[in-house]
């Protein structure tokens, strides 16, 4: 790895790209076209930031995905400017090759928040359940953006093992953990989730409940308990929430749950305007 840094920079003495500042547009396109046919690893051996970004942005999954991922990984290992690093991490996210996993693991601890977020995203794009525990580490990150992104990614991955961490994160204000828990939490997780009703903002809780209620794998009893709890909270938000689900039931919703949603939606009252003149008479 260290040698790649040395080799990359050592090769600059031989292949120095034309400077954008000094070249005319035509000259630059000509020289750019001449490099297009080169292998990616070769094309990435440049210090021209624009050139690097263009090459990275061109990358997409294909025949040479693994080889390209290795080349991008080498580029990242050699240490780049922020913009090149970010584009390289995005490229790895698009390539979805496990060849880039090792370097992504290193960037999960990068000092720059943007780089960490991109590394978590790229790792999540591998869609490998083995990485769920690593992505769950993002919930422990010092940056709120990273924590939110990790929660979202865990939900997408349906990483059930991350439910306790997500619950804790939710209690500590990572709102995105609510929706994630709704996607992956089991009945016990739902029960624990409901303990936050009244403590956390209702819209945050409803994001989670929406996902819980759509889940075919959850027992009806748990869903009915949710509906009852929401009816107890009452209010406009709850009424809208239940009415929406009554009007457009989620697939595989049992008739019993559907009936309960409809009944609750009709029972929940909107808050009266008691402070208006004449109200309460």
């Amino acid at each position: 790895m260290l040698l790649s840094f040395g080799m990359t920079l050592a090769s600059v003495a031989v292949v120095v790209p034309p400077s954008m500042a000094s070249a005319t547009e035509t000259d630059w396109f000509a020289s750019h076209a001449s490099t297009l046919n080169q292998p990616l690893a070769k094309r990435l051996q440049t210090h021209d930031q624009t050139e690097l970004i263009m090459v990275l942005d061109e990358l997409s999954p294909g025949a040479d995905t693994d080889r390209n991922a290795r080349a991008v990984s080498d580029l990242l290992r050699s240490g780049q400017t922020d913009v090149v690093t970010d584009h390289a991490l995005d490229a790895l996210a698009r390539l979805r090759s496990r060849e880039g996993r090792d370097v992504l693991m290193g960037f999960l601890h990068h000092r720059r928040v943007e780089a960490r977020m991109r590394a978590y995203s790229a790792l999540a794009e591998l869609k490998d359940s083995r990485d769920a525990s690593v992505i769950a580490l993002g919930l422990r990150d010092s940056a709120p953006q990273v924590r939110s992104d990790a929660a979202r990614r865990l939900g997408e991955l349906r990483a059930r093992s991350a439910a306790p961490d997500l619950q804790r994160a939710l209690e500590l204000g990572v709102n995105e953990a609510s929706a994630a828990l709704g996607k992956l939490g089991d009945a016990a997780a739902l029960e624990r989730f409901t303990t936050q009703l009244g403590k956390l903002p209702l819209p945050v809780m409803l994001e989670g409940y929406a996902n819980f209620l759509e889940r075919p794998d959850l027992p009806d009893a748990s869903k009915l308990a949710v509906i009852a709890a929401l009816e107890e909270v009452s209010g406009s938000l709850v009424k809208d929430f239940l009415q929406a689900r009554s009007a457009r039931p989620a697939p595989n919703t049992s008739p019993q749950v559907q009936q309960a949603i409809t009944n609750s939606a009709s029972r929940v009252l909107r808050p009266s305007t008691t402070n208006q003149p004449g109200a309460g008479r």
Binding site: M1, L2, L3, F5, G6, T8, L9, A10, V12, A13, H47, Q49, R77, S78, G79, Q80, T81, D82, V84, T85, G106, H109, H110, R111, R112, A115, R116, L139, R140, D141, S142, R147, D165, R168, A169, L172
Partner: protein
């Protein structure tokens, strides 16, 4: 100066006869106007010596009841006397009390009323009935004693007007407050003490004056030398006094007293460097103040072997903190109270503390554990104690004794407490923890360090003591296991406090953990350099590999852009490392245009230094490091002058190319900025002549000054072209070692006036371009001479003389971009 004012103790001998003559005019006595009074400067003149007297039978008696008298906090306040033995209040009276009350034999006295008309009130300690109320003579009431039926007190006033300045010693009848006798003196008297039937005061920090308590007549006077006396203590039946130290004054039967033993206690580490006893010249307010809350308490024991502290213990109170020390300064125990300790008294193996919350706590003087406790009613602002023994009152006994607490635990509690007033005491606790032989003290120190509210002074002290501490480095190692964790709330470990101790303890097993923290985004940027150095010191090849990895990853990343010092340090480590592999990393970074600007600049001088020798064998080379290039922090004037001198020949070429220019110029002025790498930028040259400027700029672009590590250096340099006009050096004279005024006088007498402009003419080099005389003296170019560089940085080089080319205002204005140049008159 008024004749009544007194001189210092040193001049006292000379003024004796004068002041004796003036005595009657400067002082008075209400009872006996003709009585010879004590006057300034010759306090003891015509006075009998202070002699020893046999103790009077009245001095001994049954032990007095133990009492606490206190003034409650708030408005209006109340004076309360509480009987510690019976556990009941003897007196409670409301009023605006001005001074801390005094518990006398059978009366409690305090001062009430406004500043302009203070009054002394006395209440019977048995019945609580008022006994007297009378005006206090002067604004500040210092305190009172009781001898038989006499209450004697001192009041004093400070003023710039001599007529208003002085003290009054007043004796009243303790039964009704009627006047008995009074002395007024135009200087300061201390709080009174009693010795048998005599009242003792210190006059103006110098002499001890004794008066018969009953009659007020002078009963002796003792001049005690030039050493200042701040307090007087006769509770032991002996005459003890002093300032920071305590002195035992031995009274004899016939002659003046002599100095006995002396006691010095090591108070230097204590906040405020207190005295053994509080000053006898301070009026102690009744309201909340530092009086009583900050200070030392101990029983002084005059012993044939010398003056000692009883139980070999003294305690030091600092608001809510209480420290007990051995006489040699070793800390024995410590306690933290919930509220301020208003009054602390040591008595026969016990320490009695009255707290602001109204608790009277009885502590064991040996280990500080709580023996008993009593509760007063109301919050206490100030308090006085009368204790005759350490026997625990019945009402103070505890149902269940509190758990024992070790000194380390107590110190930890003190150090971690967040009361901002207590920082000096917390630092004292930290220092004591650092001296602990228990390894766990290191963990305690870290616990204090990681507190969010810990002040920076405390943190830096902890870091310092941990670095010096040789015990507990394994705990420092385990402290590295913690990492920032949002979910668990675990903070990042305090690396600044941990790492130096690990390096000192040569904890090589810390290297993997240190590397983990190097790559941890939660590690403070300021800690990275420290980590890198520790890894380099302890890590060997593994450490170097990790440093190389970090260097490569971040050499172009903005996260370390604002402060690249860690990367620069790592580059230095890699460059001087054992392997050519690491050296190549630095070389590659130097060539990478994306490398952070600050880092790239620093790499230039680093790599310009002699290269380390190729390693023969890593193991050997790891032990014998190649010589490291030394980059100074700042560039000094001598370096600049040396560089110019070295390039004088090249610069001369520019001057020589234009004969006309050379003929008219007497000096050329350069103004420029030197970057850390030694390159020169923002060059300006005067006079502004295109050919000359172009030539010189080209030459100077090639010039490299020595590299330095901190900031940039703005400098100017005058290249003098007329060496013959240099001011002649003043030859060394035998008087060169004389004082400066003498040398200046001699030089002025022998030197001719220099051919220089007057000193008041503006010679600011920033706008003085060059002197162009109207009559050229020579057409031949002359050798450039180095002159003194002027810059904004301090110079470490010896001053050199200016060439006598008197700078005149420039004939042509500088370019428009030099905003700092004042507009020149046209």
């Amino acid at each position: 100066m008024s004749a009544c004012t007194r001189g210092g103790p040193v001049a006292r001998q000379l003024l004796t006869w004068v002041l004796s003559t003036l005595a009657a005019a400067c002082a008075g006595s209400v009872q006996e106007p003709t009585t010879r009074v004590i006057v300034a400067g010759s306090v003891c003149s015509d006075q009998p010596p202070l002699l020893r007297r046999e103790p009077t039978p009245s001095a001994a008696g049954k032990p007095a009841t133990r009492l606490v008298a206190y003034v409650t906090d708030g408005r209006p306040s109340a004076l309360v006397v509480y009987d510690l033995d019976s556990g009941r209040e003897r007196l409670r009276v409301a009023g605006m009390f001005r001074n801390r009350p005094e518990l006398l034999d059978d009366v409690v006295v305090a001062v009430v009323g406004p500043d302009a008309a203070p009054e002394l009130v006395g209440y019977d300690l048995e019945t609580g009935e008022p006994r007297f109320r009378r005006p206090v003579e002067r604004a500040s009431w210092l305190g009172a004693v009781q001898v038989g039926d006499r209450v004697i007190y001192v009041s004093t006033s400070l003023s710039f007007r001599p007529s208003e300045r002085g003290s009054t010693l007043t004796a009243i009848d303790a039964r009704d407050g009627s006047s008995a006798w009074q002395h007024e003196v135009p200087y300061a008297l201390s709080r009174p003490s009693t010795l048998g039937d005599r009242v003792l005061v210190v006059s103006d920090h110098a002499d001890v004056w004794a008066l018969d308590a009953n009659s007020g007549k002078s009963a002796g006077c003792a001049p005690l030398g030039t050493e200042s006396i701040d307090w007087l203590d006769t509770r032991s039946g002996e005459l003890l006094l002093g300032a920071s130290d305590a002195r035992h004054i031995v009274l004899t039967d016939k002659t003046q007293p002599r100095d006995g033993s002396r006691l010095h206690l090591p108070f230097e580490p204590l906040p405020g460097q207190p005295s053994i006893r509080p000053s006898g010249y301070d009026a102690v307010p009744a309201t909340r103040s530092a009086y009583g809350r900050v200070g030392v308490s101990t029983q002084l024991k005059p012993d044939p072997a010398g003056l000692q502290v009883a139980e070999q213990r003294y305690v030091y109170a600092f608001y809510r903190q209480l420290f007990a020390f051995q006489a040699d300064g070793a800390l024995v125990w410590a306690r933290l109270f919930d509220t301020d300790a208003v009054r602390v008294e040591s008595v026969d193996g016990a320490v009695v503390v009255v707290t602001e919350a109204g608790q009277v706590q009885w502590l064991d003087a040996h280990d500080g554990h709580l023996l008993g406790q009593q509760a007063l009613i109301g919050h206490v602002a100030s308090a006085a104690l009368r204790l005759s023994s350490a026997q625990l009152p019945d009402g103070a006994k505890l149902a269940t004794p509190p758990p024992e607490r070790s000194l380390r635990d107590a110190l930890r509690q003190l150090a971690i407490d967040t009361d901002s007033r207590l920082l000096p005491g917390r630092q004292l606790a930290v220092q004591a923890l650092a001296a602990s032989s228990e390894p766990e003290a290191s963990r305690d120190l870290l616990d204090v360090y990681v507190q969010r509210a810990a002040p920076s002074e405390l943190k830096s002290r902890i870091a310092r003591v941990l670095a010096e501490r040789s015990i507990g480095s394994e705990l420092l190692l385990s402290a590295l296991d913690t990492q920032y964790d949002f979910l668990s709330g675990s903070p990042a470990p305090p690396l600044a406090a941990i790492v130096p101790g690990l390096v000192r303890g040569r904890q090589t097993q810390a290297v993997p953990k240190l590397i983990t923290h190097l790559f941890d985004p939660n590690t403070e940027r300021a800690d990275l350099r420290r980590l890198a150095l520790a890894i380099a010191t302890l890590g060997g090849p593994t450490g170097l590999e990790a440093l190389g990895r970090f260097f490569v990853m971040y050499h172009a990343d903005s996260s370390l852009g604002p402060d690249s010092s860690a990367l620069i340090e790592i580059a230095r480590i890699l460059w001087t490392g054992a392997s050519t592999h690491e050296v190549k990393l630095v070389e590659a970074a130097a060539q990478d245009p994306a490398t952070l600007a600050e880092l790239r600049l620093a790499l230039v001088p680093l790599m310009a230094a002699p290269e380390p020798e190729a390693p023969v064998a890593p193991a050997v080379n790891a032990k014998v490091a190649p010589p490291k290039p030394v980059v100074p922090e700042l560039l000094n004037d001598a370096d600049i002058a040396r560089t110019f001198t070295a390039h004088a020949a090249e610069l001369r070429d520019c001057l020589g190319s234009d004969v006309a220019t050379a003929a008219t110029l007497r000096a050329v002025r350069f103004s420029f900025v030197i970057e850390r790498s030694g390159t020169l930028s923002q060059l300006q040259i005067w006079p502004k002549r295109a050919a000359l400027t172009q030539c010189l700029a080209a030459k100077l672009a090639e010039v490299r000054f020595p590299a330095f590590s901190r900031g940039r250096r703005m400098a100017s340099y005058t290249l003098a072209l007329r060496p013959e006009a240099t001011t002649a050096e003043v030859p060394a004279r035998p008087t060169d070692n004389a004082p400066f005024w003498q040398r200046a006088q001699l030089r002025g007498a022998t030197l001719a006036l220099p051919d220089q402009p007057p000193w008041w003419r503006d010679q600011n080099p920033l706008f003085v371009a060059v002197d162009e005389p109207t009559k050229p003296e020579s057409t031949k170019p002359v050798e450039p001479q180095p002159a003194e560089p002027k810059s904004d940085a301090p110079s470490s080089a010896p001053p050199t003389r200016h060439a006598p080319t008197a700078p005149e205002p420039p004939t042509e204005a500088p370019s428009g971009d030099t905003w700092w140049v004042p507009a020149q008159p046209r």
